[in-house]
């Protein structure tokens, strides 16, 4: 009888340890994944700039600025003074996470310092989701770029969930001239940025992501490896919050 009781307690102990081990493994995987998606940099929080009249009526106006660089080393410290763990990776900065106000007009300016090759598909050469379907590039109003005129894209998308408003924005960024990039490659001098400005409306509170649709990673995964497949370089989160 004593032996049976001893056996039962062993079974109970083994079962408990197995469950605890399983929970620990799941928690460890969750923690690791969560840690990998957080690069530790403070997000870019949009600055409120009063109210503005729009085709949808008067609403709050928020502005934010990003930049995109040919490599992390020359990104003005976006990944640390020496470019961090991947100084050769193409990157956005100063952070890849954006915080925007809900039910507002958001104007984003992107300074582009990189050259380009060819887009995978002409679809991402089109401006999509902005107020009037256009963007402003160095003072010129543009609605699309050719497949070979693009350095990167800024493409916001989301899960089609009924719990938050849809948001899809695609901005192709005009590339630097070849001679400017040759000079950068030769002596590291950053060219004057191509300045792209665009505006779009936010809906209610929600969580979105953005990524570059230009194949600017290394040769793996059809040039979507390296910087394109690592958090904090050519992709990020967009958090739309009630108040800033």
């Amino acid at each position: 009888m004593q032996a049976v009781a001893k056996g039962s307690s062993k079974v109970l102990l083994s079962a408990t340890l197995s469950v605890l081990l399983g929970v620990g493994v799941v928690a460890g995987v969750g923690y690791t994944l969560n840690k990998a998606s957080d690069d530790g940099r403070a997000p870019v929080i949009a600055t409120m700039a009063g109210n503005i009249d729009t085709p949808k009526g008067n609403m709050p106006h928020a502005i934010a600025t990003l930049s995109v660089y040919a490599d992390a080393e020359s990104s003005g410290g976006a990944h640390g003074p020496d470019g961090g763990s991947h100084p050769g990776y193409v990157t956005y900065g100063p952070s890849n996470d954006l915080v925007l106000p809900a039910h507002s007009l958001v104007t984003i300016t992107i300074n582009g310092y990189d050259g380009g090759e060819t887009l995978n598909t002409p679809f991402f050469g089109k401006v999509i989701g902005t107020v009037d379907g256009s963007m402003d590039v160095d003072g010129k109003k543009i609605t699309s770029l050719g497949m070979t005129e693009v350095q990167h894209t800024f493409t916001i998308h989301s899960l089609p969930t009924s719990s938050q408003d849809p948001l899809f924005v695609n901005i192709p960024l005009s590339k630097q001239p070849d001679d400017a990039m040759e000079k950068f490659d030769a002596d590291g001098t950053l060219p004057a940025p191509v300045v792209t400005t665009f505006s779009f409306y936010t809906g209610g509170v929600g969580e979105y992501v953005w990524n570059c649709e230009f194949p600017c990673g290394d040769g793996t995964y059809a040039k979507f490896g390296a910087a394109m497949s690592k958090y904090g370089y050519m992709s990020g989160k967009v958090s739309v919050v009630e108040h800033i």
């Binding site: 056996g7 598909t121 998308h157 899809f168 990524n211 979507f224 394109m228």
Partner: protein
């Protein structure tokens, strides 16, 4: 010498002895209950959690899942019933019981499971061939009136080109009751185009165009997902779409910068 005692028992005698055993009866009882549970799950529970049916292809797919769940319920019930009886009557204590007599084979059992398994497979094959044939015939009949949508997967966004209307969109909107032909490809890694409520799921491969057909027959929203793990933001590779009336579709085409066909 009694010669009748040396005769091996007939198959009927062996079967009668077999079904009188307590372990067999209890395993059968457990198997029957578990089978009924799976039949209930297959007929009433699972369908409640399936996506809305918005095309005949989705209806066919849903029926196949339901019928195959019911057909496979006895198999699962038998395995789990015996497993449950074995677990509940497992040996306790330090002294294990002696091994039973070695069994080389049991021809009737082998015969039964071979025939039953073959029948299950045959039903699945014939069913699939019939469904495929019906679907292909219907698609061929409807082809002249079909709307063509070129679907392109790229990490991690779908885009949809409507060549007959001269525009592209990030949304997949379609008119109701009109056949649609999807021409699916990828510009980078492999994706899988899955407009859930339309019952279509097809791989999107680089340098290849794969064709799939369906006819939406219910108005409403559809979800387009990628069903192939494709990289960092695979989980966000979802798009929205809508099945709309012909007039609403034409209005949307115009608003997107296209021209009506």
């Amino acid at each position: 010498m009694n010669t009748s005692n040396s005769l091996p028992p007939s198959l009927g005698d062996r079967a009668r002895t077999f079904i009188k055993r307590h372990d067999v009866r209890m395993s059968f009882l457990y198997s029957s209950v578990i089978t009924l549970v799976f039949v209930f799950l297959g007929l009433w529970f699972y369908p409640k959690f399936m996506p809305e049916v918005m095309s005949e292809q989705m209806q066919n797919g849903k029926e196949v899942i339901v019928y195959f769940t019911v057909i496979s319920a006895p198999v699962a019930g038998l395995v789990l019933g015996i497993a449950l009886y074995t677990f509940l009557n497992r040996h306790k204590g330090d002294t294990p019981p002696p091994d039973g007599p070695a069994i080389r084979t049991n021809n009737p059992v082998v015969l039964v499971w071979t025939i039953v398994s073959s029948l299950f497979c045959l039903v699945a094959i014939v069913w699939g061939l019939v469904e495929m044939n019906v679907s292909s015939s219907e698609a061929a009949d409807k082809a002249p009136n079909a709307i063509v949508v070129e679907v392109t997967g790229s990490q991690w966004v779908w885009n949809f080109n409507y060549p007959d209307y001269g525009f592209s969109s990030d949304k997949l909107n379609l008119p109701i009751d009109r056949p649609v032909v999807f021409r699916i490809t990828s510009v980078d890694v492999n994706h899988s185009f899955w407009p859930v409520q339309l019952g279509v799921k097809v791989d999107a491969n680089r340098h290849a165009i794969t064709t799939a057909r369906t006819t939406p027959n219910v108005l409403g929203s559809i979800d387009i997902k990628c069903a192939e793990l494709c990289g960092l933001y695979h989980a966000y590779m979802e798009s929205e779409g809508e099945i709309m009336t012909a007039s609403d579709f034409n209005s949307w085409v115009t608003a997107e910068g296209g021209h009506t066909a």
